[in-house]
């Protein structure tokens, strides 16, 4: 179905952290190896190929663009459309159709992945006696930044699996640094709602939680996740990897393409598909 199509996964990337783009690349590798698309590429805001360059490396008749971002916000609504010169969900340019899909963080399957990650982090710990905290960035710059994390907390809370399910943020209240005051259960599981294990999940949040004393330079050598559980502030604390490192994420990214086609069934690419449709 996508044999004439190209796929771009768009990540943030980093000029200082070599791990930042890794999950986006690994998901692209996984999808490329499925052989569904003519070609699969990544593009980044802070790494190469840039959003300005990436279209040159693709030759498909149409190009699906899936932001590997947790939330709808500044990057998905402003930066990516501006840099790729998109005019909407469907952009026609030089004989090609650019199809701008929703960010992976909007996929309903995220909820299940968060639950699974929480259970992997604290195996055998009774969830009915555990507080689950979903920690996200949060920012005053964009109201949408925290919205996805709040939505996921509501969904998981509604399942009634955990004693309580809470939001916490790095840069807006409720602050993750106060995790022990926010959570009331003896066991606390913290899952970072981020795309990659970068500065925030490896360095910043461990310091805010109190499991590390200061930011470490060698981010990729940190083994904060292997020291679970932490006995801290009178609680048993379990800290997990960022949710975006979950291999199942590739399926969600792929599913954003299918969802796009369901919502935009007439976003034609080549003359062939249009002719086929007109003959119906």
């Amino acid at each position: 179905m996508f044999a004439h199509s190209s796929l771009i996964l768009v990540g943030h990337g980093s000029t200082v952290n070599p791990d930042s783009s890794t999950p986006t690349h690994l998901h692209a590798d996984a999808i490329r190896q499925m052989g569904i698309f003519k070609e699969v590429a990544c593009a980044f805001w802070k790494e190469e190929p840039s959003l300005r360059e990436v279209l040159h490396m693709l030759s498909g008749d149409d190009v699906y663009i899936v932001p590997n971002f947790i939330s709808e916000g500044y990057f998905t609504q402003k930066i990516i459309p501006r840099e790729l010169e998109l005019t909407g969900p469907v952009t026609h340019r030089q004989g090609r159709v650019l199809k701008y899909c929703e960010p992976v963080g909007n996929h309903p399957g995220i909820t299940e992945l968060l639950l699974r990650r929480a259970q992997e982090v604290a195996p055998g710990v009774p969830s009915g006696e555990t507080s689950l905290i979903i920690v996200a960035h949060g920012t005053g710059l964009n109201d949408n930044s925290a919205a996805a994390a709040k939505r996921e907390v509501q969904r998981i809370r509604a399942l009634g699996v955990y004693a309580e399910v809470l939001n916490a943020f790095m840069e807006e209240p409720p602050y993750i640094a106060q995790w022990d005051q926010l959570a009331s259960s003896p066991s606390v599981v913290v899952v970072p709602f981020f795309i990659s294990d970068g500065l925030h999940s490896f360095q910043d949040i461990p310091v805010l939680l109190g499991v590390e004393n200061e930011r470490s330079v060698a981010a990729s050598r940190m083994d904060v996740f292997r020291q679970n559980p932490y006995h801290l502030r009178g609680r048993t604390l379990y800290y997990g990897n960022s949710i975006g490192t979950e291999p199942q994420f590739a399926q969600l990214l792929l599913d954003q393409v299918r969802r796009f086609d369901q919502e935009h069934p007439r976003a034609y690419s080549s003359g062939l598909s249009m002719a086929a449709d007109l003959s119906l």
Partner: protein, 212 residues
Amino acid sequence: MKDSILEALSTWLAAGRNRFGELIIKGTELCHYHDRDREDLELFTKPEAARLIATLDDADQYRPLKSAPNLRHGWKLVLKDLQEVKLALDFFYPAMLGTLLAWEQQRLAATNFRDTVARQSGMYAVTKHISNAQADELIGEFCRHDTKCLKRILWQIDTERPITTLAHQKFLPPAGPHGLGLLEPEEIPLICCEACNLLVAAARRVVKVSGE
């Protein structure tokens, strides 16, 4: 299925062009140009290994700019076919093959520095206040061919102002099917059609410092 970039790569290689950035391409084998006669190289066989090789320099420091002249030494990548070579080359120097083909086919549009900074927002919006003289000086240092970046620049400061602070190796002959013939016979050039985000971030620092 037709892959015009793969066909172009095949044509360039057949014409004897086998230097791509700091790489040398020998059939379906890649290594650092300086390592071309070494026999003690660590062997890799998957195109994805190119991404790992390109991530850290010889001192294990992160390479945020893939076209910086600090590619790691000591490895050899032996691949299965030209399709895998293309994928690996796109990990070493992302999008550069397709950009070159677009240039050869005279469909590559460059964006001048003023236009790049004019569209910035958020923390980079201040970059539009950089003066022409500051921009010329910054680019002359930040994009130096010998120590900073191997790409050849297609853009100017604005339509009236070329960059005056870089050596001639930083620029390209006129685009077109004969353009490549004016370069070194082995070179597959890396092309910069717009200021990168690293340069925009550097422009921000210039504006911030001059404003203090």
